[in-house]
């Protein structure tokens, strides 16, 4: 298991996903490099979660391939999953288990030896040392997200997948999470992030892809996406404050209609 150096931590190539006759994801391709935060932006139903689920190996694409640190997610799922950490949208941990038990469980699943001192240090780092014996369901949203991030990175993965991680967080918790993401990036982790927040995309993402109706419309740095689209009439129409923002470009490119 030593395939991952000098290559993207995530390579998605010509991904096609169908739900019955509905073509949810259409020939999507992108890469996430080590030490990069890559944002996947799109309206509801655009294909973000389907793309992420395919990257996690939870759904089988109709065509295309996903490679995590060089491992094919369909052919070598266990190896690929060992190289990635995942923060899901839902707080999907057993509510009967305590914080310490959940972290110990996932450490075991990733083959990480977790001593009592190491667990205490991890919890101290995220300012939850007092909550070790508390059940997960009793934590606040921000505390749950911190635990979720700790679990996603407990095995020091090359790739971290985050599905709308700051949804429902207060500004302080959100800022703290951004700082943690940036710290992970600086250590060389690649991060794929889905978000609805343009502020978040601009603040932390090195590159973003805007996806709509299952297709990637554009991929670039946030600034480049703004610069390359600022003259488009639909973007100018979407502008609200006299200057073009990423949100204006997003609305201009994906339309102003509210999606179901």
């Amino acid at each position: 298991m030593n395939k991952s150096h000098d290559q993207p931590v995530l390579r998605v190539e010509n991904l096609d996903i169908y739900y019955g006759k509905f073509h949810a994801v259409q020939r999507v391709s992108f890469e996430v490099q080590p030490g990069e935060i890559f944002g996947l932006l799109g309206p509801n139903g655009a294909g973000k979660t389907s793309t992420l689920s395919a990257a996690e190996g939870l759904i089988k694409p109709s065509a295309g391939s996903v490679r995590v640190a060089g491992y094919d997610i369909r052919r070598q799922p266990i190896y690929a999953r060992a190289c990635m950490g995942v923060q899901l949208q839902a707080t999907s941990f057993q509510p009967e288990l305590t914080v310490g038990e959940i972290i110990t469980l996932y450490a075991g699943l990733y083959g990480v030896i977790l001593t009592r001192d190491r667990l205490a240090a991890i919890l101290k780092d995220i300012k939850l040392e007092e909550q070790v014996g508390k059940r997960f369901g009793q934590l606040s949203g921000g505390q749950q997200q911190r635990i979720s991030l700790v679990i996603a990175t407990i095995h020091d993965p090359q790739l971290v997948l985050m599905d709308e991680p700051t949804t429902g967080l207060d500004p302080q918790s959100r800022r703290q999470l951004w700082e943690r993401m940036e710290a992970m990036r600086d250590k060389g982790h690649g991060i794929l992030l889905t978000t609805h927040s343009m502020e978040e995309a601009e603040a932390v993402c090195d590159r973003i892809a805007i996806i709509d109706h299952g297709k990637i419309i554009t991929i670039d740095t946030p600034q480049a996406i703004v610069d390359n689209n600022r003259e488009r009439p639909e973007v100018i129409r979407a502008s609200r404050k006299g200057r073009i923002t990423l949100e204006d470009v997003f609305i201009g490119l994906t339309g102003a209609d509210v999606r179901a």
Partner: protein
Amino acid sequence: MSSTFSSTELTVTAPATLPAPRALPSATTVFTSLLKADLTTQWRNRRASIMVILLPVVIVLSWKALIGKVGGAFILSNAVTLGLNAIGLMGYTNSIARDREKEIFQRLRVAPAPNWTIMGSRLTVQLVMIVLMTAIVMIVGYQYDHIVLSVTGYIAGLLMAIAGGAVYLALGQAIVGRISNPETVNATSRLIYIAFIMVGMFGELGMLGDFIDNTVKYTPYGTVKSIVSGAMTPSTWTSQTTLALLITLGYTIVFAFLGIRWFKWSTRG
């Protein structure tokens, strides 16, 4: 690729080093971690577990007067079958439906845990429950009803309880495979549970007429009750009991096949 932006340029300010990949954990380590968590969860839900064990115990105690008429093995096997019903149809089915709804399985599946370890751990917990319930029923039967079996009877009874438990676990798997909504799963499993008790137990006692009495013998309740009873008193094991064992295995295979075929790890998408 820690970076700063200036127009369309992406300036790399620090070289990124990809963290080295970690060695895969062994299947034993993964399974042990899952089992520890699942046993802890079961322990934290011990009120529900106590209820599963309580009803068979009440049957053993309240049917004491019938021992002379129907025999100790009949009472113990009915109580055990009732407990197996509750474990498979109420405990297992509802816990799987709830955890699937909460996406707990999906969270586990994005870790390097093979699917069989996730479900195997859940089934092992149910196996522990089956052994515990059967042992308690036997102890209560011995202690309070003075029902004494041979050593072979105790061991064979326990083994047949495990074989019988597999029918209800497989049936539960089929229910949770077919139905995605946890409330509907709960309602359906309760309905089947009550139907098995009413028709199985009262039918076998002859309270619902000869036709039901004869039919019940071939239902999952009747076959399981028959093999547990036959195993508890090996001298009474007949070709009819062997047929019941074969039917039990057949039910298990069919329900397990359907349960695996229909089962989806997530209710979304």
